[in-house]
Amino acid sequence: MQIYLQQCAKCHGPTGEGISAAVTIAGPNLWAEDDPGRVMTALEVGPSHMPRFEYILSVAQMHAVSDYVAHTIAQIHLNGGDLSRGGELFRRNCAACHRTAVRGGGLVFVGTNAPSLTGKSAALIAGAIRWGPGPMPRFPPSVLSDHQVASIVDYIRYVQQPASPGGSALNWYGPVAEGFVAWVGVLLMIGIVMWIEKGGKG
């Protein structure tokens, strides 16, 4: 714990709340880092702006830190989520801003934007749900239980790379992109009738 307060609290805050990745310098929220292995990896590798602690801390110290983070600071336990239930909760609470295919963009009218969730880690998503970075509302445990958050995270992880059995998904833009493609189809058809009649003299 001493080591955590010395080395990590500068960015991640004394209780690990961070301010998620929405603000560049502050460290991510650690409330969902319930896997010691993942914390260990982060300490060794130093993802993104985070420094590498490989040469600063001994292995035992790093183990102590990761245990502390995983067992004391992490408040959201991200296991045993229910994919379908997560989908329902996602569509009710999240889809309005982040779109059903988690590509973001719902808030574009007011100048800010709900970020795309593709490529976001489970811990980051869970932390953001609880903490509410930027204009995002907070979902405290009284509103969404840990299990519900875990379910939502499961669903988002699934939809980050959803299967598109029907062909190109057009980046999941929906009917606007489909309309453009439909007109490409119509223009193709017009090209074909031009060929059929070879232009023609009318």
């Binding site: 009710r92 574009v108 009218f109 062909g167 059929i196």
Partner: protein, 452 residues
Amino acid sequence: MIASIARWLDSRTRAAKFARSIMNHVFPDHWSFMLGEIALYAFVILVITGTFMALFFDGSSADVVYHGSYAPLVGVHMSSAYQSVLHLSFDVPAGLVIRQMHHWAADIFLGAIAAHLLRIYFTAAYRKPRELNWMIGLTLLLLAIANGFLGYSICDDLLSGAGLRIGYSILLSVPVIGPWLTFLAFGGTIPVSATIPRLFAMHIFLFPALIATLIGAHLALIWRQMHTNYPGKGRNDRVIVGSRLWPSYTLKSIGLFLFVFAVVAALGSFVQIDPVWIYGPFKADAILPGAQPDWYLGWIEGAMRLFPSVNTHFGKWLIPEVFFPGFLFPAVVFILLYAFPFIDKLISLDFRAHNVLRMPWEQPFNTALGCAVLAFLSVLFVAGGDDVIAVAAGAPLAWMRELLRYLAFAAPLLTGVVAYAICETIRRRRSRAIPAQPAEPFERSEVNVEMR
């Protein structure tokens, strides 16, 4: 073989003479006469694929729990209609490709109708004696738009649910009779169990029957009045020039049908449309952004977004803000379109019948008007998808919407003036190059009438 079949049939129907006249029917050789045909064949594809889907679709909003092969929805409560769409998409062999083909064919159907309409407008093919067919065509466009909306609405997914709410609000906003009209159409305040069966019945019985009937009337009139011809050497109001139905045109037409089918199949297999499983089932409390309609309603959606937020009161009664862009505006557009052949008569003071088309530069005012309306509609189409465009382009939406409001006025003016100037220039240049000639005298003996 053919002779014996023909003999058998002819001795019962006496159709040989009629069939011969059919085979000799003349169709002009110009690509723009085939635009309507694309729409016709798209409709045929819609009927074929639609019949297949109707065997699997369950138009009911009974609550069921999903147990199919799409994992993220297993155990979720949904309507029977939505579940049957999922079943069709994931568990019926070739179900997904048929469903996507149906949706793409609908989009292409409307696109071909729009292209056809533009060709008719810009070459003044609606003039006497074809006013009636112009109006039948417009009715077909209206029915096609309505049936398209019904079609994607009955999937009962979250996206179509948003569309249904908007359609409901527009109908509700009609002064005086709005609430009654809405309850008649939807069966109550949505979501109500009566809605889906009602829309389904209209989508597969009433509207297709009307469309098919009117297509029949449209074609019969074309057959009776024959196609128009583009102006040119040897073209006048009393002859039709082109190739005969048999064999030239038959081959081309069958080829076109197969090509339309092929393009629809290619789209249906390589471009995903309306992935209802990502949108999820319709739930009262769930919503998604980017809730656009299919493209043919985009202009109304755009008008609804650009229209200012005004509360209009008529005495103590309220006319909601959606009424003006959502109902009045499309109504006015269609009324003007219906009336256009007659408005055109007043503009050009030309009451005669015509079989030779008027090229766009020969009618600068009409062309300018058409271009202006087209520019206005284009702005509305952009506005209808402005949030998605803003996301894709990274532009600020509020700013973009202000710009579009100005453009909605500026773009038509500018386009109209430019189109008028271009038409005038072409017209002058042409009249200088070819000094005005008296109309070619027409004598029946001069025409090489081929009898076969």
